[in-house]
């Protein structure tokens, strides 16, 4: 029987397909198989030997069935593996093509600015692009004949109406809409218009983002804090802020906002003209008369305002050196901004 066991196991291992294995199974375990045949000889044994013989045959039968089952698993696995191999695809071929669009770099930049300032409590107020002389100038302390009008070449529509030259009239409209409620904290993004011929850094239509904060305790110090956070987050690097005294009739004190150059980190390069600084905004404390014009009492509240050139920020962030690219709408240019 031991000799038989060795033979059977040998045949099980040698079976290389499910059919061959079935053949082995029938040959030994089938009703007429060789193991069943062993029992036919049991009558020839002495009665006291019979139980032991029966147990040995059963043990052999069990062992063989186990072996067959395990060999079957093995053969099934092999067959599956082979069939999977046959189904294999060339994963290096290109995937299905989806044409993805994208947002304009100005929109992307504005969204980031909006999101950063949102975290500091600023809401968004959209103001009109055609304006009255009164709102664009007079209410901002720039009376008729004021030399500051030279700073902003204006497209007039009529004697008294014009294309806004800055987003600052949005300060007045936004304040009036709030009817004296505090705190005032909003930004005014949008197009502005200047009578400047187009070149690499000028376009008659461009974008600004105005910011205004008014409360019982708003200070110049806070202005620096807000601008600093905005610039650091927007450029994703440590940016030094430098405030230079300047003049805007609607703020006092007024300043220009310089940031350490985001290309050379202040070392000096061609973008910053070697100075290590880039001018990015005008800002200041809201002039008392402007607060009054917006319906707020300068004896009770104070405020700051800032105005960033959105085009300039987008150009610095994305390394664009010619403003005309922003308005050229070339697919090859716009497609570059589909990513983050």
């Amino acid at each position: 029987m031991a000799e038989m066991e060795v033979r059977i196991l040998q045949q099980i291992i040698e079976a290389s397909t499910a059919g061959e294995l079935e053949h082995v199974r029938i040959k030994y375990l089938g009703r007429k198989g060789e193991i069943s045949a062993l029992l036919k000889n049991i009558g020839n044994l002495a009665p006291e030997q019979r139980p032991a013989f029966g147990a040995a045959v059963n043990a052999l039968r069990n062992k063989v069935s186990e072996m067959i089952a395990s060999r079957k698993d093995e053969l099934d696995r092999e067959a599956l593996e082979q069939s999977l191999l046959r189904d294999a695809i060339d994963v290096s071929l290109p995937g299905e093509y989806f044409e993805v669009g994208g947002l304009h770099p100005l929109t992307k930049s504005l969204r980031e600015i909006t999101s950063i300032l949102s975290g500091m409590g600023f809401t968004v107020y959209e103001s009109r692009e055609t304006e009255t002389d009164e709102m664009n100038f007079v209410k901002l302390n720039i009376a008729q004949g004021h030399p500051a009008r030279d700073m902003q070449e204006t497209f007039y529509l009529t004697e008294t109406t014009l294309m806004r030259t800055h987003t600052s009239p949005g300060q007045i409209r936004g304040m009036l809409a709030l009817e004296g409620r505090l705190p005032v904290r909003f930004i005014v993004p949008g197009r502005v218009y200047r009578r400047d011929p187009t070149d690499a850094s000028h376009h008659p239509v461009f974008f600004q983002v105005e910011g205004l904060a008014i409360d019982v305790d708003v200070t110049f110090k806070q202005l620096r804090g807000v601008i600093s956070t905005l610039m650091n987050r927007f450029f994703g690097q440590d940016v030094r802020i430098r405030l230079r005294p300047s003049y805007f009739p609607f703020t006092e004190p007024s300043c220009e906002v310089d940031i350490s150059c985001v290309f050379c980190r202040g070392e000096g390069c061609s973008v910053c003209g070697g100075s290590g600084y880039l001018e990015v905004a005008g800002a200041g404390m809201v002039h008392p008369q402007v607060l009054l014009n917006g319906g707020y009492d300068p004896d009770k509240v104070s405020g700051f305002a800032f105005g960033f050139g959105l085009d300039r920020l987008a150009m610095l962030k994305y390394g664009i050196d010619d403003i005309r690219l922003l308005y050229g709408n070339d697919k090859r240019f716009l497609s570059q901004f589909r990513g983050l």
């Binding site: 055609t130 705190p183 110090k221 716009l334």
Partner: protein, 817 residues
């Protein structure tokens, strides 16, 4: 304004190099745009004594001199009157260079060798030949010999080019900048004696009495319109003779951007650059009637100005006139008839105060933006006229030997009250966020010429009371003083802080939030966002077929556009987007889907135009190239319509209808009006072939515009219904209808007639056999899903019959078997 470094340092010894000074000034608000080292390029020009002079043998106009440079002796030929024995002059030796690359060689003059050249100021500073009556440079007796010109004069210098903000009129004179610089450097000022007497820059401001007015100037000043000219001082100088200015004065004027003319005119310019007060010099003998009348122009009056232009004067121009008529344009430019010439013996220096706005408007109308006008229009010190005239007279007398007549011809209606302002420390702290002591403020303000009259140090009411120097016409109130303190303390020394009150921010206007979602949707559907110019060409509107009777053909116009291409406000996003399509085709781009969201403008009865927002889309060509997986995807009506469908479902705008045929610029058979809730909110279609041709577009272009305001008014938020627990059932339904039946109506009809339908999808349109000519087959997949059960076969058949009855009745439809 250009500021020569040595000139600035005449009034204050700055402890800095020019770079550091430029930085300090910029950080105090005096914006130095550029700092340049101006080198004249003069070499081998040295002082030399004329030892001996003898006549030229052949040319009586020339002399032959022997000159000693200390180390060598040179024979030099010159015809200048000052070429006399004993004089010390400047000589350009052979090999010397002069400005403009001029080189001096050994040469012969009428047969006599000249080892160089004795030079005049014009040759030294510009390399140009002597001007009429110009002599060689004569140096003071005792000047050492062989000294290079560069050591004798300020030939090489640094120049700061300032770009001043309009409020900094007090820095339109170099003295004003010196006051700022002295305060920043904590150095004292050194003033010209006559100005020191007037105490112009003293901490007491200009409140002290001006120089005395005794004397008999013989001229009468008449100011009939004091609102335009309230103050006019005339200072007379007699016995002047014609001369050119000293080398250093000419050099400073050149560096500052003024062309030297003659000593008298140069002095008026020099003193203007020094003090900021424009002056004018008249040949006093040419002033008719010994009277000056300052009045506004009458119609048709003319004057020939110094630049030799005969000008017709716009009405209400302020004129300087004498008994004969106009002799100058007040605050802008003098007249030819009374200009200083070689023959001038008596001079009247005008030092006046003109109304800033009047000068500004006048100079703008005349397009004469002179240095004088730029200063007057920003406001000069209204108290300084006499002192500054005196300064000019003294300089002229010192330099050319004229005799100032004591006193002034003056008329004055100005009574300048000293401006007093109290600066409270609590206001300083409230605005800046930093505590300041009254002492600090006092020191800063005194440093820049404010007179501190009182100081309170009690904490509750700490303050300083100041008198504003009258030259500071930009200071009106307490906040202006806060800025003065802050900028001299240093903006960057004020520290940083955070907004104190925490409030929620972000986009709160739902409309603005929706707009951002629309942007994302359009981008995710393959659209590239554009930003096009909102100033457009009226011809572009006409090219799209919009006549003036179409609101879109009747735009708001700019009064003074830069060009006709950008002369009107867009009435639609389409002109810009169509241009985007055409510029991209010209760059060889095979396909494009682009969009923009922006404002469009229409004239209105109100003061301001109507502004409304639009969404615009444009596409052409191959949007998805053929790949190994499938064919290419092309731009077209249905693709863009699909994007609009997505947009409508985003916004929850239901019941959108596409009615055939939009107007221009669309193809009449391939376009639709988009109607929702009974109102037209946009148009979509392929462009009309006529437009394509006009715009030189080589292929079919599809476009769409939507009224954003219209869409936003129809936004319906999504509502949720629990999904049915029962399996949906799908059934296909194919019908044959006459070809002209609108497929959209059939879909609508099925959706409305069928019961428990959750989707009706058109999956096939067939117009060829076996479908008979003039008919089309439409195949739909219907999805049924009631909430409460699964439909039985009988119910489904019933529904199909109901639908078919309706379609048969309305569209003569038959079931396709």
């Amino acid at each position: 304004m250009r500021v020569p470094w040595t000139w600035l340092n005449e009034y204050v010894d700055l402890p800095w190099d020019p770079q550091e000074a430029a930085h300090r000034l910029a950080m105090a608000g005096i914006n130095v745009e550029e700092l340049t080292h101006e080198k004249l390029g003069v070499s081998s020009v040295v002082s030399a004594k004329i030892l001996d002079v003898k006549p030229h043998p052949r040319n009586p106009g020339q002399k032959i001199g022997l000159l000693d440079t200390g180390t060598e002796r040179l024979q030099i030929v010159s015809g200048a009157p000052g070429f006399k024995q004993g004089n010390i002059t400047l000589v350009a030796k052979p090999g010397a260079t002069l400005p403009g690359g001029l080189t001096i060689e050994l040469k012969e003059i009428d047969g006599v060798a000249s080892q160089g050249m004795a030079v005049c100021t014009n040759e030294l500073l510009t390399g140009q030949p002597p001007r009429p009556f110009e002599d060689i440079i004569l140096l003071p007796p005792g000047t050492a010999l062989g000294i290079p010109a560069g050591e004798l004069f300020e030939l090489d210098d640094w120049v700061m080019e300032l770009d001043l903000t309009v409020n900094y009129s007090h820095c339109l004179g170099i003295l004003g900048i010196a006051i700022e610089a002295a305060a920043l450097a904590k150095r004292s000022l050194k003033l010209p004696e006559v100005l020191a007497r007037w105490n112009w820059a003293d901490t007491h401001g200009s409140q002290k009495p001006e120089p005395d007015h005794k004397g008999d100037p013989e001229f009468k000043i008449d100011l009939p319109q004091p609102e335009f000219c309230p103050r006019y001082v005339g200072k007379v100088i007699e016995d002047v003779r014609f001369a050119y200015s000293p080398v250093n004065m000419e050099r400073r004027l050149l560096l500052a951007g003024q062309r030297p003319l003659n000593l008298i005119v140069d002095v008026t310019n020099y003193v203007m650059l020094e003090t900021g007060q424009p002056l004018h010099a008249f040949d006093a003998d040419q002033i008719k009637g010994k009277t000056i009348i300052v009045r506004s122009s009458s119609p048709g009056e003319r004057v020939v100005t110094l630049d030799d232009v005969d000008r017709e004067l716009p009405e209400n121009t302020i004129l300087i006139t004498d008994a004969s008529g106009p002799i100058g344009i007040a605050g802008v430019m003098g007249g030819k008839a009374t200009e200083i010439t070689e023959a001038t013996r008596k001079v009247l220096i005008e030092s006046a105060y003109f109304d800033p706005l009047t000068v500004r408007l006048g100079s703008q109308k005349l397009k004469l933006r002179t240095e004088a006008a730029l200063r007057f229009e920003k406001g000069v010190d209204p108290t300084a006229q006499a002192a500054i005239a005196e300064r000019a007279a003294t300089l002229i007398a010192d330099l050319s030997g004229g005799t100032p007549v004591p006193g002034y011809a003056e008329t004055n209606y100005l009574d300048v009250e000293p401006k007093r302002i109290v600066l409270h420390m609590r206001i300083v702290e409230r605005l800046l966020g930093t505590k300041f002591s009254p002492e600090t403020c006092k020191n800063i303000l005194e440093g820049i010429n404010f007179q501190v009259e009182d100081m309170r140090t009690h904490t509750e009411d700490a303050s300083v009371s100041v008198v504003v120097p009258p030259r500071r016409v930009d200071i009106h109130g307490e906040v202006d003083l806060v800025e003065e303190v802050a900028r001299h303390y240093g903006y960057d020394n004020l520290g940083t802080g955070d907004l104190s009150r925490a409030v929620p921010g972000g986009i709160t206007d739902p409309g603005l939030l929706h707009v951002e979602k629309i942007r994302d949707l359009l981008a995710s559907h393959g659209g590239l966002e554009c930003v096009t110019n909102s100033l457009v060409n009226p011809e572009d509107l006409a090219s799209l077929g919009w006549d003036p009777d179409d609101p879109r053909g009747n735009p708001v116009r700019l009064q003074h556009p830069l060009s006709s291409e950008e002369s009107v406000l867009r009435t639609s996003l389409l002109p810009g987007l169509v241009k985007v399509a055409s510029s991209n085709t010209r760059s060889g781009i095979q396909g494009l889907f682009a969009w923009e969201i922006g404002r469009v403008f229409f004239p209105s009865q109100e003061l301001l135009p109507v502004e409304t927002r639009q969404i615009g889309l444009v596409s052409y060509g191959v949007l998805r190239p053929k790949t190994w997986l499938g064919g290419q995807e092309e731009s077209g009506f249905y693709r863009m319509k699909g994007v609009i469908d997505s947009l409508m479902s985003l916004l929850g705008v239901a019941d959108v209808k596409y009615l055939p045929k939009a107007g221009m610029p669309f193809h009449p058979g391939r376009s639709a009006k988009i109607v929702a809730n009974m109102s037209t909110i946009g148009e979509i279609g392929d462009l009309h072939p006529v437009c394509l041709k006009r715009l030189d577009l080589p292929m079919s272009v599809t476009a769409c515009w939507l009224s954003l305001e219209g869409l936003l008014s129809m936004v319906t938020p999504a509502e949720s219904v629990a999904p049915s627990r029962f399996m949906p059932v799908e059934r296909d339904l194919a019908v044959i209808v006459p070809e002209d039946v609108s497929g959209g109506e059939v879909i609508d009809s099925i959706s409305k007639t069928g019961r428990h339908l959750v989707a009706v999808t058109l999956f096939d349109v067939w117009k060829k056999p076996p479908v008979p000519e003039g008919y089309k087959s439409l195949a739909f997949r219907l999805v049924y899903q009631p909430q409460d059960r699964t439909l039985t076969e009988e119910e489904l058949a019933e529904d199909r019959d109901r639908i078919m009855d309706k379609l048969r009745q309305d569209y003569k439809a038959v079931l396709r078997s």
